[in-house]
């Protein structure tokens, strides 16, 4: 606990506590629609944090993170459908497969020094490759879709992850909070210091004996594993999986937009970004509804995102935290 809050300004702690408390009691007050939006927000916040580990710590830009969501989702769903294995157990297999895939991609990227844009394209290629392959696996429903049986929504069965919307809300909330704590702990650990050293100056870090490959691979493994868990949740929340809407590059991009907007490499950026982008979409839908012009919503959405890049090029979090004086030490920023 001490390590967790060391060096954080009291004001920031109070704000965080209020924010967390608001989220915990939210289901009592908000409508089912707002809750469904909050669920999507938290999902993006969670995956964003996982992705952030990869780019923020390992410095590798992945544009294929939907691959890990998909692997997690399909693994746990297949185990549940074909063998009746509960998702909390299936999750281990899901995470193992995600980590393995992540490590293969990370290893290849590192071994062949594929960096930056090239690495991004490598991740896209892997995700799209798996998409087409899953398209052709009847055992996973191929393009026809993979459906989880939906039953007994009145009863909450946490073990089998079957239940009401509120249950899924609290599960994803817990995951998001856990990821935040994990990221914070990782940052202040020895591992986090190595990561920062690598990020700031790769050559010097290597010169003083930091084992680049090992630490980068750890970041990739954690990132892909956490994303795999998101996939398990995704499968059981949506109850249906289609390769195209799970693995496609469009999905990968959707997953990371919030984090980029919020601020890559910052602890709170992914959460902030998710809480801005998804509601922005909903607000725009609401505002443009009366216009009766199909496509106008995404037009304004694109304009907003472009404006953020042009006017807040480091993302929104550094700006907001400076504005409210929440960021006293560099240590808070990974």
């Amino acid at each position: 606990m001490n390590r967790l809050i060391k060096g954080v300004r009291p004001r920031a702690l109070v704000l965080l506590a209020v924010f967390a408390a608001a989220l915990v009691i939210a289901p009592l007050f908000v409508s089912s629609y707002v809750l469904s939006v909050l669920i999507i927000v938290l999902y993006f916040a969670y995956v964003g944090q996982a992705w952030n580990l990869m780019i923020g710590f390992a410095g590798q830009l992945s544009l294929g993170h939907a691959l890990f969501v998909g692997i997690g989702a399909y693994t746990s769903a297949a185990l549940f459908i074909h063998f009746g294995i509960a998702p909390w157990i299936g999750m281990f297999a899901a995470v193992a497969l995600s980590v393995l895939t992540g490590c293969i991609i990370g290893y290849l990227g590192f071994r062949f020094s594929i960096r930056g844009v090239y690495f991004a394209l490598l991740t896209i290629a892997f995700a799209e490759f798996v998409l087409v392959i899953v398209d052709h696996i009847p055992w996973l429903g191929s393009t026809g879709g993979f459906f989880l049986p939906v039953a007994n929504r009145d009863r909450i069965d946490l073990f089998n992850l079957r239940g009401s919307q509120i249950m899924f809300y609290y599960v994803i909330l817990a995951l998001t909070a856990a990821a935040l704590v994990l990221c914070r702990l990782l940052l202040n650990s020895k591992l986090g210091l190595y990561w920062q050293a690598i990020r700031e100056d790769q050559e010097s870090a290597e010169a003083i004996g930091v084992h680049l490959f090992r630490y980068k691979m750890i970041a990739v493994a954690i990132s892909s594993g956490l994303t795999g868990i998101a996939g398990v949740w995704y499968a059981f929340y949506y109850n249906n999986l289609f390769p195209e809407t799970t693995f496609s590059t469009a999905k990968s991009i959707e997953l990371i937009l919030g984090t980029v907007v919020g601020g890559v490499g910052t602890l709170f950026g992914p959460i902030l970004g998710a809480f801005i982008l998804t509601p922005l979409g909903e607000v725009l839908t609401h505002l443009t509804e009366g216009m009766k012009i199909d496509g106008i919503k995404s037009f304004f959405w694109g304009v907003c995102v472009a404006a953020i890049v042009l006017f807040r090029p480091t993302g929104l979090w550094p700006w907001i935290s400076a504005l409210f004086g929440l960021d006293p030490r560099r240590g808070d920023k990974p």
Partner: protein, 290 residues
């Protein structure tokens, strides 16, 4: 299966590949000089296709004849886009540049949807269904003309970069940014020109492509992915590489479709992409990275 079908399929794949190659030139030129990956690549090409469509519908201009007009229009678009918008993110991290281009793509898609509606539309030229037969080989005229036009445009581009003073200056910027500034080149203007030339390529490719496929607002993303594959296979920043990559992907996808299930075609291409990244990350004709 009779042997002539392989010949037919290969020829048609190569011709289509030439057009893909031409569109990839646009991506390659921009990356080679400005070092920005144009994630709105496919969407800009779709804009070019819609411009061609409007010219065809309202003025009756054949898509092949409208190549210079569309290229000029998209040159202007690219010039302005670079000078007003993209220039401002040049110093930012990869992911910020990517986000900006993704936003531009979303804006372009929605504008096309609002202006032209969601339906696929094509230009029906008089020779749309003609085909030539040479022995067992059946080549459809549209594809033949389209492939030749792509070659001509690509040749013009090569000549520009090799012989024209501006072309040489742009190459200098790409090779050595600092040096270009030192010798007094107007780098900002040259970058805008480069982006304009890149999008002009997309315009030309779009005009040609409209002969083969119908355009709709959501055609962009798959075209972007395809160009990524080609540019990696051929070599980022290498112009001959882009053309070679286009032909290679066009022909191999066609043959793969024949031998395997056609729905596995794109897995084949992505597999090839992964292989090239691992074995020769700089691409077949790319220069090794320092």
């Amino acid at each position: 299966m009779p042997a002539d079908i392989y010949l037919n399929v290969a020829v048609s794949g190569i011709l289509t590949g030439l057009i893909y190659g031409l569109s990839t030139l646009g991506l390659s030129v921009i990356f080679g000089v400005i070092r920005i990956v144009n994630f709105a690549h496919g969407e800009i090409m779709v804009v070019g296709m819609f411009v061609t469509l409007v010219l065809f519908r309202h003025l009756g201009i054949d898509p092949l004849l409208s190549i210079p007009i569309v290229a000029a229009a998209l040159f202007g678009f690219g010039f302005v886009l670079q000078d007003w918008v993209v220039r401002r993110v040049a110093h930012l991290a990869d992911h910020m540049q990517f986000l900006l281009m993704a936003a531009v793509a979303v804006i372009l898609i929605s504008v096309c949807l609002m202006l032209f509606g969601p339906d696929a539309q094509g230009a029906q030229v008089g020779y749309a269904y003609d085909s030539l037969s040479i022995g067992p080989l059946i080549v459809d005229k549209v594809r033949l003309y389209a492939g030749l036009a792509a070659l001509v445009v690509a040749a013009a581009l090569f000549a520009f970069f090799r012989y024209a003073a501006t072309g040489k200056a742009i190459r200098a910027c790409g090779d050595n940014y600092l040096g270009a500034q030192v010798v007094g080149l107007n780098v900002r203007r040259l970058f805008a020109l480069t982006f304009g030339i890149g999008t002009a390529c997309l315009g030309a490719a779009g005009a040609i492509l409209l002969l083969l496929i119908d355009v709709h607002p959501y055609l962009g993303p798959p075209l972007t992915l395809l160009a990524f594959i080609i540019v990696i296979v051929g070599g980022m920043g290498s112009l001959p590489g882009a053309m070679l990559g286009g032909v290679l992907i066009g022909a191999s996808e066609a043959i793969a479709g024949l031998l395997l299930q056609p729905s596995l075609k794109s897995a084949f291409s992505f597999g090839l992409l992964i292989l090239v990244l691992l074995v020769r990350p700089q691409g077949l004709l790319g220069k090794a990275t320092q």
